[in-house]
Symmetry: C2
Subunit: 213 residues, 2 copies
């Protein structure tokens, strides 16, 4: 089955090759956390769904219940919330080979406090609520996988909170560049400024003061 | 075996009764999350250790590796960190029937970013690193318990972060009173102010503006 790639219009791509690559990426990630055998993988991977989003598309909106976990295979997502003045605050970027959702909304089926937007044309693998809970029970180490992913998610939030209090804007900027290499080339600067919780003017000053290689 | 209670000097208490009450509280909490049978409980509960701390005692210091999870049976703990000016910021209060540790430090064996201090004479049950990891493997639903506790911990951090951005100081104050009833009578006001991320003057104004019942 041949399909036109949504992003690369001058190139015809094999949909199944795309899917295989995505699934292989997820399997590698999962296998780095738990032991998963071929039989389990065959059963589990049949439930994944591939989806593509256009640049700027909103894929989760504050107030909706998050029904999916998105695994980013290609592209970049921005996770943000609205502050008390309804100003967008960028919380996180989900780059290739990482997960994105409002985890609390997804797990508790409560209205999402975050929105998610594609920063580039983005290809994700979708995991449904059923699939995740089926995985907890059905995989031999499913609950362990759930625990490790919850812990990883927790470390992310804990460090984000501490950074805001304990690091200077320059330190947060350096930390961001380590976490998300090339993010400055991929995302408009006002989103970066809102991620760092500083003004765009302050961000420009930091960027201009960096030594050029 | 009769022991003098560390906190109530005019009363002789049975150490084992104390321990039994603490263990029953933990068992009730665990049983609300997973199915645990008598055999599992007998094996697991034998590893708990009871410890008492005096008011104001520091029980975990920034920079140490957190070797234990504390389950508060009686009393109150304050979890705090130091901001970039070395000022103490209160992050959380662990009241009766809740857990406290630097979870990341405990799980990853890295230096703790938080300190923990007893706000009152406090009685805790201690779980060691070995015990927690043994529980993940040894209990039929140990990994599920680990997952649910990691998720709960994550919700706490996620909401704390969002509150700082999305709620007014008054809203944060009301939220705190729901989470920690009577906290105002138990903790000096400057710790409350630092929990709410406002000045002590601002906190006094909020308290004085509350309707008196």
């Amino acid at each position: 089955m041949q399909r036109k790639c949504l992003f690369c219009f001058n190139k015809t791509l094999n949909y199944f090759e795309f899917m295989q690559e995505s699934l292989q990426n997820i399997r590698t990630l999962i296998a780095s956390l738990i032991d998963i055998n071929d039989e389990e993988w065959a059963y589990y991977s049949a439930m994944f769904e591939l989806k593509k989003f256009k640049k700027k598309e909103i894929i989760l909106q504050v107030g909706e219940v998050a029904k999916s976990v998105f695994f980013v295979n290609r592209g970049l997502l921005r996770i943000y919330f609205l502050d008390k003045n309804q100003k967008e605050c960028t919380f996180h970027f989900a780059q290739e080979l990482s997960f994105a959702t409002d985890y609390e909304s997804f797990l508790r089926k409560t209205p999402s406090k975050y929105s998610i937007q594609a920063m580039e044309d983005t290809e994700v693998v979708i995991m449904s609520h059923f699939m995740v809970h089926d995985g907890y029970k059905g995989l031999r180490y499913g609950e362990k996988l759930g625990r490790v992913l919850a812990e990883t998610h927790f470390f992310l939030f804990s460090n984000k909170l501490l950074e805001l209090y304990t690091q200077t804007p320059l330190e947060r900027y350096e930390q961001m560049n380590k976490l998300f290499p090339k993010i400055l080339q991929r995302v408009p600067q006002h989103y970066i400024a809102s991620y760092l919780n500083i003004s765009s003017v302050h961000l420009s000053r930091i960027i201009n003061e960096q030594p050029r290689n």
